[in-house]
C-alpha cells in the first residue's frame, strides 16, 4: 500500500470521525449544560451558605464566613427539623416504593377485574390539589382520634408517594422480558426467589429511580405535611416558616450538605465498586 493511497484512504475517514466525534459530543455537551442548569441554583445556595449577612436576611452577598457551617445547628429547631425530614423521607420512600412496586407488578403482569379502576385510582392522588389532599386527611385522622405527629406525616407522605412509585416502576415493567422469569422458575426458583434473583435486579433502575423520586417529593413537601404534622416541624416547614423573618444561612448549609453528602456517598460507592471489580479480575 503506497503512502499516497493510504493518505487518500484516510482523508474521508478523518472527516467521518470528526463528524461522529462532534455528534457524539453534542449529546454530552447538551447533558453538561442540562446539569449546569439543574445545579445552578444549588451553586447559589451553596455560595450563600458562606455568606455573613449583617441583618437577618440572607439575600445579598456580603462577607465570607465559615461560621454557618461550623455552627450549622445554632438555630433552635433546625436540627430536629432536618432529622425528622430525613427520617420521614427515608421511610416514606422505601415503603412507598415497595407498595408501589407491588401494585405495578399486579397492573402489568395480570389481567384482573378492576384493573382499569385501579389504574385510575393511581392517578387520582396525583391530580388532587395538595391543600385538599392534606386537609381531608386531617378529617380522617381526627375521626379516628389519631395523635398528629411523626406517624401522621409518614402516612401522608407514603400515600402521595405511592402513585409516583407505581407509575415509574410500571414504565420499566412494561418492557420486561417474561421469559427470564419463566427460566428462573424452570430452574426451581419459586415466586419469591424469582423476584429476588431475576425480576428485582432487572428492574433495579426503576426501583432506584422511584426511591429517588419519592425521597425528593417527601423531603420537599410542605402543604400536606403542614396540615398533618401536629406540632412537629419538618425542614420545609421550618424554611417556609422562617420566610417571614428571612431564612438563616444555616438553611443553605443544610440544603448544601444533604446534596453534597448524597453525591459524595454515591461517588464513593461507585469508586469502591469499580475498584472491587478491577480487583476481582
Amino acid at each position: 500500500m503506497s503512502a499516497v493511497a493510504t493518505a487518500a484512504r484516510q482523508r474521508p475517514r478523518v472527516g467521518a470521525r470528526a463528524w461522529a466525534f462532534t455528534r457524539h459530543h453534542a449529546l454530552t455537551v447538551y447533558s453538561a449544560l442540562f446539569f449546569l442548569y439543574l445545579l445552578l441554583p444549588i451553586a447559589v445556595v451553596m455560595v450563600f451558605s458562606f455568606n455573613n449577612p449583617s441583618g437577618r436576611t440572607n439575600y445579598t452577598w456580603e462577607r465570607f464566613t465559615w461560621d454557618n457551617w461550623i455552627h450549622w445547628d445554632d438555630v433552635p429547631g433546625i436540627r430536629s427539623a432536618i432529622v425528622l425530614s430525613l427520617e420521614i423521607a427515608l421511610l416514606a420512600s422505601v415503603v412507598a416504593t415497595v407498595l408501589g412496586m407491588l401494585i405495578a407488578l399486579a397492573l402489568v403482569r395480570y389481567g384482573f377485574r378492576g384493573r382499569g379502576t385501579t389504574n385510575l385510582l393511581i392517578f387520582l392522588p396525583l391530580s388532587t390539589p395538595e391543600i385538599v389532599l392534606g386537609a381531608s386527611l386531617v378529617t380522617l385522622f381526627l375521626n379516628f382520634n389519631v395523635v398528629f405527629g411523626f406517624w401522621t406525616i409518614l402516612i401522608a407522605h407514603i400515600m402521595f408517594c405511592i402513585s409516583f412509585a407505581v407509575v415509574t416502576i410500571k414504565a420499566r415493567l412494561i418492557g420486561f422480558d417474561r421469559h427470564l422469569e419463566e427460566a428462573a422458575m424452570d430452574l426451581g426458583a419459586n415466586e419469591w426467589a424469582t423476584f429476588r434473583k431475576v425480576t428485582l435486579p432487572l428492574i433495579a433502575p426503576a426501583i432506584f429511580a422511584s426511591l429517588l423520586l419519592c425521597f425528593s417529593i417527601s423531603v420537599d413537601d410542605f402543604v400536606v405535611t403542614y396540615f398533618n404534622s401536629g406540632n412537629e416541624v419538618t425542614f420545609p416547614l421550618f424554611v417556609w416558616g422562617s420566610a417571614r423573618v428571612g431564612a438563616p444561612p444555616q438553611v443553605n448549609v443544610i440544603g448544601t450538605a444533604i446534596f453534597v453528602v448524597a453525591l459524595g456517598a454515591m461517588l464513593i460507592n461507585i469508586l469502591l465498586q469499580t475498584r472491587r471489580s478491577k480487583g476481582a479480575e
Partner: protein
Amino acid sequence: GGGGSDASEGTTSVERKLAKTLRMSNWTLYIDVKGKRHPTLEQFEKKTGVHVKYTEDIDGNASFFGKIQPQLQRGQSVDRDIIVMTDNSRYPSLLIDKGWVEKLDKSAIPNMKNLIAQQRHPAWDEDRDYSLPWQSGITGIGYNAKLTDPVKSIDDLLTDPKLKGKVGVLDDYSGTLTLVMLANGDDPGKVTDASFDRAIKKLQKASDSGQIRRFYGNSYKEDFAKGDLAATIAWSGDVAQLQFSNKNLQWDVPTEGGEIWTDNMFIPKGGNVYTASTFMNFVYDPKVAAQIEAYIQYICPVDGAKAAMLKLDPSLSKNRLIFPTKQMLDNVTSLDAKAFNNEKYLTTWNNLISA
C-alpha cells in the same frame, strides 16, 4: 359563634396550679435566640419550673388557622396553650366569636399594666379578655433610595410611571387596603361598599397597567433587597433588618397614614389558662420584653421596654422602626374589623390578587 365544648369546660382557670409543660406555638424565629437556646424560655423555666415546649410551626395566619380549625370545630384540644395570630386578619375575631379561645386569667397577669395605651382596646377584643399582644409592626412604604426618589404616598407608588413594574404590593388584605383607603381619603376604620370599591379599583388599575410587579407575601423582601423592587408596601420590622445589609432601603409611614398590626397571644380551647397567663405575665416584664425585642426587632407593645433596651443595646433603642416615635404611632390605624369577615370583600380581594 358557638360555645366551647365540654372538653374545655374542666380546664378553665378554676385550677390555679402550674402545669408541668407549657405548649406554645409561634412564628418561626420569633423569640430571642442565643446559640441553640432561647434565653427567655430558659429564664421562665428556671423561675417557674414549667418546661416550655416551644414550637415554631406558624407560617401564616390563614394556613395555621386552616390547620387547627378542624380540631377546634370538633371541640378537640389543639394540644397548645398559647398560639400567636395577627389581628389584621379575620382569624382573631373568628376565634373569639366561635368560642375557640379561653379567657385570660388577668389576675395572673399583673404586668398587663405595661401594655402600651394604643393597644389596650382593639375593636375585636375591647377589653383584652382573650388576647395579649406579642409584637407589632407597621405597614408603610419602603423604597430603595438608590433607585428612586423617596416615595411618600400610595398614589406615587401606584401611579408614578418611573416606578412602573418595580412596585410591590402586599397580598395582605388589611395592610394594603388600609393604606389605599387612607390614600383615598376614606376611613379604614369604617369600610363602606363605596370606599372598598374605590380602593379595589385603584389597585386594579395599577395591576392592569403593569405598575405593580406582583402581589407579594413574605417574599417581597428578597426582591426589595436585590433591587428588583424600587418601592413597595412593606413592614417596618422587615426593613429594619434589610437596612443592616443595605443602607439604601428606606421605610416610612405614608403621608396619608399607615397601618399597625399586632401579633396576639391566645389561649386556644383546652389550653392551660393559668400557666399560659403566667407566661404572658412573664414576657410583659419590661426587662424580658426588651430581651426579646433586642432579638426580633419588631415593635414592642410593652411600656418600659425602651428604657430597659437602653441598657441592653442603646443603638436599637434609638431605631424608630423598633421603637416608633409618637408621631408615627399617631399616624397609624387599622382596618374595620367588620371588613375582615365580609365574604364579598374577601372574594373581591382574592379575585384581584389571584387573577
